[in-house]
C-alpha cells in the first residue's frame, strides 16, 4: 500500500494571519495526506526541527507580513543543514511576483499567491512527491 504523503503546514515569523494555512491544512487532509500544522509565530529553527522529526515530505510555508524573503530561505538552509535535502519546500501568502525568482533560487520550489485554487496546490504536491512504500 502506498504511504500517505506527509505535509507540515507552517507559519514562520510573527504573522498571525492563518486563515489560508488552516484552509490548506484541511484541504491536504481531505486529499488523503497526513498533515501537521505548527500554529502561528514559529521560528525557522522550530519549523525545520519539526519537519525533520516528523519526517515530512512537504513543508508548506505561509507568510502574509512581507518577511518571506528573510524567513523562507532560512527554513530551507536549516533543512539542508539537517540533511533533509529532498524535502519539498513551498510558499504562499502575500508575495509580490518579483520576489518569486529570488525565493526559487533559495530552494522554494513553488510560490502560490492569493486566489490559487486548492486543487492546483494539491495536484502540485501529488506530482512532485512520490513516497516510497
Amino acid at each position: 500500500m502506498e504511504q500517505k504523503i506527509r505535509v507540515l503546514v507552517a507559519k514562520p515569523g510573527l504573522d498571525g494571519h492563518d486563515r489560508g494555512a488552516k484552509v490548506l491544512a484541511r484541504a491536504f487532509m481531505d486529499a488523503g495526506m497526513e498533515v501537521i500544522y505548527t500554529g502561528i509565530r514559529r521560528t525557522p529553527e522550530q519549523i525545520a526541527e519539526v519537519a525533520v522529526q516528523e519526517d515530512v515530505d512537504v513543508v508548506a510555508l505561509s507568510c502574509l507580513s512581507g518577511a518571506h524573503n528573510t524567513l523562507f530561505p532560512r527554513v530551507v538552509d536549516l533543512l539542508r543543514q539537517k540533511g533533509a535535502n529532498d524535502m519539498l519546500v513551498m510558499g504562499g501568502g502575500v508575495i509580490p511576483e518579483e520576489d518569486v525568482p529570488f525565493l526559487k533560487e533559495h530552494g522554494i520550489s513553488e510560490v502560490f499567491g492569493p486566489g490559487t485554487p486548492l486543487a492546483t496546490i494539491v495536484e502540485y504536491i501529488k506530482t512532485h512527491v512520490t513516497r516510497e512504500a
Binding site: L14, R19, T38, G66, A67, P114
Partner: protein, 559 residues
C-alpha cells in the same frame, strides 16, 4: 404595518404571485427561485412584502435615530450633521516616512489618523529583538520608545486630531507613550481624542498578536478602563473588533455574535473589578468588517446596534443612554481583495464602503486596490480615500438618515441576523462566556468551519469571485508596489543603541521596578508605565517585565 384587512388581501395576492413564479422556468444565474442564502446561511426570498415584517413594532424595534434602541443610527441627524471620520489605516517603514504619509493624508482631506504598527511593536518586542528580523517596518511602522513617537507625530497637533492606534497586547504601553508625548507638548490627557484597539479576545480567536494569558490581559484592560474613566473622558478605551474574525472567515451573523460576546466579557470583567457600568461603558467602541453582500452587511450593522443597546439596558442595567450606543469603525474586507485584476478591487471597496455608510458607521477605512499584493502605494491610497469622499459628497446617500430603514427585505434581514446572533450568544453564555469559549477553542473552531465552507464554495464555483474563478484574464498586473528597505532592521538596531546610550539608566531601572511592583500587586498599571516610557524605557523592556510577572500564552494549534 398595515391593518389586518389589507394584510389578508396582501397574503392572498402573494399566494397568487407565488403560484405564477412557481411556473416560471429557473433563471440562468445558478440561483434557484426557491433556494438562496447569504453567507450566514440565512434564506433569501425572491421577494419581501409587509408580511415579512408583520410582527415588527416601529417604536419598539426601530425608534428614532439617536434614541433607544438606536437601530436607525446613534445620532439624531447622522451624516447631515457631520460625515463619518475618514480614517485610513496607515504606517510603514520608519517613523519619518509614516509621519510624511500622515501629513499627506491630512492634506488630502482625511479627518483622523489611524496608526498601523509593525508586528514586533504589536508583540511588545523592540526593533532590535532577534525575532524582529525581516518584520521591522513591514505591516506598519516600527515604534520601540517614546523617542520614535516624538518623530512619528512631529508637526501633528495632538489636541486637534483624533488618533486611532491598532495596538492590543501592549496597548497600555503605547497609550502611555502618547500621554507622555502630549504632556511634553503641554497638552493634558483629558484633551486627547482617539482610540486604542485594546481588544485582546479577538487576538486569541483570530488575529494572533497576543502576549500574556487571558486573565492578566483582562486585568490590564480593566486598568486602562479605570485610568481613562478618570483622566481621559474623550478617549475610546477599546475597539471591540469583529473585523478580524470576519477576515479569518466567519459569517456576518458570527461576526455580530462573537463581537458582542467579547463586549459582554469586557463589561463583565470591568464590573467584577469594581467599576460602575456607566463610568466606562460610553467609551467602548466597536469595529466591524464591510464584506461583499451589501444588504446583508447593512442589516448586520443595524442588528448589532440594536442588540448592544438591549444588552446594555437589560443585561447590565446601564442608566446613561451613552452606555447603550454602539459606535463603530468599519474597514472594507481585506480578504475580498483579489491579486488578479487588482483594479476590480476599487469597485468591491466602493460597494463595501457604501454598505458601511448605509449601515451608519462612525468612521471608515477603505482598502486600497493593491493590498493583496503588498502595502498600498500612495496612488492607491488616494483612490481609496476618494471613494469615501465620492460616497460622502456626491452619491446623495448621506442626505437621509438610515435610508434603507423600512425596506421589507432589510428589516427582515436585520431581524434574522439578530435572531441567529442571539442563539450564538446563548451558546457562549452556556460555555461560561467568551473567555471560556475561546479557551475551549469554540469560537476558533466556528470561524475555521465557516472559512473552509466559504473556500469550498469558491472551489466549486457556487460562489463567484470575478477574475478569480470566473471571468479570468491572463494579463500580468504591472503595478508599482511599495517596498520596504531591507536594511531597516540594521538601521533600527543602530538608532535604538544610540537612544539607549543617551538614557539615564538609573531612572529607567527604577521605573521598571515600579512597573514590576504594580504588576505583581493590584495597583493600576498605567501611572507606572507612563513614568517608565517617559524616561525612555522601551516597549520591549516594559513588556518583558510584564511577561516575567504574567507569563506568556501558548495555545494548541488546530485547523
Amino acid at each position: 404595518m398595515d391593518d389586518r384587512e389589507s394584510l389578508e388581501r396582501l397574503k392572498a395576492a402573494k399566494l397568487r404571485w407565488q403560484q405564477h413564479v412557481d411556473k416560471v422556468p429557473e433563471g440562468k444565474t445558478g440561483k434557484a427561485y426557491s433556494d438562496c442564502a447569504t453567507s450566514s446561511g440565512i434564506d433569501v426570498s425572491l421577494l419581501y412584502t409587509p408580511e415579512d415584517v408583520e410582527e415588527m413594532d416601529y417604536m419598539h424595534d426601530l425608534g428614532f435615530p439617536g434614541e433607544y434602541p438606536y437601530t436607525r443610527g446613534y445620532q439624531a441627524t447622522m451624516y447631515r450633521g457631520r460625515l463619518w471620520t475618514m480614517r485610513q489605516y496607515a504606517g510603514f517603514a520608519t517613523v519619518e516616512e509614516s509621519n510624511r504619509r500622515y501629513k499627506y493624508l491630512l492634506n488630502q482631506g482625511q479627518t483622523g489618523l489611524s496608526i498601523a504598527f509593525d508586528l514586533p511593536t504589536q508583540l511588545g518586542m523592540d526593533a532590535d529583538h532577534p525575532l524582529s528580523e525581516g518584520e521591522v517596518g513591514k505591516v506598519g511602522v516600527s515604534v520601540s520608545s517614546l523617542a520614535d513617537l516624538e518623530v512619528l507625530f512631529d508637526g501633528i497637533p495632538l489636541d486637534q486630531v483624533s488618533t486611532s492606534m491598532t495596538i492590543n497586547a501592549p496597548a497600555a504601553v503605547l497609550l502611555a507613550m502618547y500621554i507622555a508625548l502630549a504632556r511634553r507638548r503641554g497638552i493634558s490627557a483629558d484633551k486627547l481624542n482617539g482610540t486604542i484597539q485594546n481588544d485582546i479576545l479577538k487576538e486569541y480567536s483570530a488575529r494572533g498578536t497576543y502576549i500574556y494569558p487571558p486573565a492578566p490581559s483582562m486585568r490590564i484592560i480593566n486598568d486602562i478602563f479605570a485610568y481613562c474613566s478618570r483622566e481621559m473622558p474623550n478617549w475610546n478605551t477599546i475597539s471591540i473588533s469583529g473585523y478580524h474574525m470576519r477576515e479569518a472567515g466567519c459569517t456576518a451573523v458570527q461576526e455580530v455574535a462573537f463581537t458582542l460576546a467579547d463586549g459582554i466579557a469586557y463589561v463583565d470583567a470591568a464590573i467584577k473589578a469594581g467599576l460602575d457600568i456607566d463610568s466606562f461603558a460610553s467609551r467602548l467602541s466597536f469595529f466591524f468588517n464591510a464584506h461583499n453582500n451589501l444588504l446583508e452587511e447593512v442589516a448586520k450593522f443595524r442588528a448589532a446596534r440594536r442588540m448592544w443597546a438591549r444588552i446594555m439596558k437589560d443585561r447590565f442595567h446601564a442608566q446613561n443612554p451613552k452606555s447603550m450606543m454602539l459606535r463603530f469603525h468599519t474597514q472594507t474586507a481585506g480578504c475580498t481583495l483579489t491579486s488578479q485584476q487588482p483594479d476590480n478591487n476599487v469597485v468591491r471597496v466602493t460597494l463595501q464602503a457604501l454598505a458601511a455608510v448605509l449601515g451608519g458607521t462612525q468612521s471608515l477605512h477603505t482598502n486600497s486596490r493593491d493590498e493583496a499584493l503588498s502595502l498600498p502605494t500612495e496612488d492607491s491610497v488616494r483612490i481609496a480615500l476618494r471613494t469615501q469622499q465620492i460616497i460622502g459628497y456626491e452619491s446623495g446617500v448621506t442626505d437621509t438618515v438610515d435610508p434603507l430603514g423600512g425596506s421589507y427585505f432589510v428589516e427582515s434581514m436585520t431581524n434574522r441576523i439578530e435572531e441567529e446572533a442571539w442563539k450564538y450568544i446563548a451558546r457562549i453564555d452556556d460555555l461560561g462566556g467568551a473567555v471560556k469559549a475561546i479557551e475551549r477553542g469554540f469560537i476558533q473552531q466556528e470561524i475555521q468551519n465557516s472559512s473552509y465552507q466559504y473556500q469550498m464554495e469558491i472551489e466549486s464555483g457556487k460562489k463567484v469571485i470575478v477574475g478569480v474563478n470566473k471571468f479570468q484574464a491572463h494579463d500580468k498586473p504591472a503595478m508599482n508596489l511599495t517596498r520596504i528597505d531591507p536594511t531597516l532592521y540594521e538601521k533600527r538596531h543602530e538608532e535604538l543603541a544610540a537612544m539607549k546610550a543617551r538614557r539615564d539608566m538609573a531612572k529607567v531601572e527604577a521605573a521598571l521596578a515600579r512597573v514590576r511592583a504594580a504588576a505583581g500587586g493590584d495597583e493600576n498599571l498605567m501611572p507606572a508605565i507612563i513614568e517608565a516610557v517617559d524616561v525612555y524605557a522601551t516597549l520591549g523592556e516594559v513588556c518583558d517585565v510584564l511577561r516575567s510577572v504574567f507569563g506568556e500564552y501558548r495555545p494548541d494549534a488546530s485547523f
